[in-house]
């Protein structure tokens, strides 16, 4: 099965979803928003359809979708509260179109909205039976991919630092033990691609992507910006805007005042290692050197195990 198989079927499905009723010709056109081995997302008029990763647990996805549907101030509301018919054995969900963050205008990144939305999510009541947040599992998956890439390539000087930094993490951050503490509702994979304005083009900012949503350690959701800041990539001003908004909205992942790093350290280390592993695996596959941004992650991994 290749990912190309999914597109025509998903396109037919979204056309039907966007124009319910008797089939009529339409001139809307369908745009492919994402097409990767684990995700295909297409847009037709104001409707978006997502084919989830092969092997997605349909029951867990249904619970995650229902969770999002119950939090319309946090998550983009799904068009249907249950996953639709399968495409190539992959569940499909339907969403209204929202305007994403402009990737060419980093100055317009909504750091305050991101912080406030996460705080709201982390304060939401947890419904019994909610699946686990998949952050640590994704980090472990990135390490599996790195091991595959390393097995297929000549030794790389950056690899030992990444592998040692991973080994130095506590078992829960490597998805080898249950997450500690009071489990909180978490997004599980926050980055700037996970925010849209709805209704398009200038409605309120909302979170998208329920694939990793679940209960876990809430600092995980702050940890990617924290990692970028620690690695010297995100400016102190942007990091401060994000963290201040999170605290102002009563987010429970970090203390209201003072140094937040006691709570952030482990998840930020895990996400630094995860990102380093992903980019190192890509560089190995493409047989290209790491650039300075990628190297800054490797350097941070090296410093973690020097301490």
């Amino acid at each position: 099965m290749t990912t190309a198989d999914v597109l025509p079927q998903l396109t037919a499905k979204i056309r039907d979803a966007a124009h319910p009723g008797p089939a009529a010709p339409c001139a809307c056109g369908t745009t492919t928003l994402a097409h990767r081995p684990d995700t295909t997302v297409v847009r037709h008029a104001a409707t978006v359809a997502k084919a989830h990763a092969p092997g997605t647990d349909p029951g867990a996805l249904a619970l995650r979708l229902a969770t999002a549907a119950h939090l319309p101030d946090v998550f983009l509301p799904p068009l249907a509260a249950t996953p639709g018919a399968l495409v190539d054995a992959r569940p499909v969900t339907l969403w209204p179109y929202g305007t994403p963050v402009d990737p060419d205008d980093q100055g317009a990144a909504p750091w305050e909205a991101a912080g406030a939305l996460l705080a709201r999510l982390h304060r939401a009541p947890v419904v019994p039976g909610t699946p686990l947040m998949r952050g640590p599992a994704k980090a472990a998956h990135a390490m599996d991919r790195l091991h595959e890439a390393l097995a297929a390539a000549a030794p790389h000087p950056a690899a030992p630092a990444v592998l040692r930094a991973w080994s130095a993490l506590p078992a829960w951050a490597r998805a080898e033990a249950p997450m500690p503490g009071t489990l909180t509702l978490c997004h599980g994979d926050l980055h700037l691609g996970q925010l849209v304005r709805h209704p398009a083009p200038d409605g309120q900012w909302l979170l998208i992507d329920v694939d990793d949503l679940g209960v876990g350690v809430p600092a995980w959701d702050l940890a990617r910006p924290a990692s970028w800041y620690a690695c010297g990539l995100l400016s102190p001003a942007e990091w401060t805007r994000f963290l201040t908004a999170y605290r102002a909205a009563g987010g429970p992942a970090v203390p209201q005042d003072g140094d937040p790093w006691a709570a952030l350290d482990v998840p930020a280390r895990a996400l630094t290692v995860q990102t380093a592993a992903r980019y190192l695996a890509k560089a190995l596959a493409a047989d290209r050197p790491l650039d300075e941004v990628e190297q800054s992650l490797i350097d941070a991994c090296a410093r973690m195990v020097l301490e």
Partner: protein, 97 residues
Amino acid sequence: MHCPKCHAPMHTYNRSGVQIEQCSGCRGIFLDYGELEALTQLEAQWAKPVPPAPQAYPAPPAPAWGAPHHGGGHHGGHGHHGGHHGNKSWAHMLFSS
């Protein structure tokens, strides 16, 4: 404490209010976490007696494994830090899992 390099005893000295350890044998210097940044900041203050303050943000706390320019050595928020706007992999990273 003993020097990690030549194992001679190390003695504590005070340099501009910062405690540093120097080896009595090889004269090597040991700095605790934050001390290099403290010295760098003092040096910067010496070089620029009237520092301009164009940024309202003081440098927020960062972990020990963070990039080395964190801490006291941060000059007005316009260092190397966050200076990757336009870098292709940074732009990609902001939007990727």
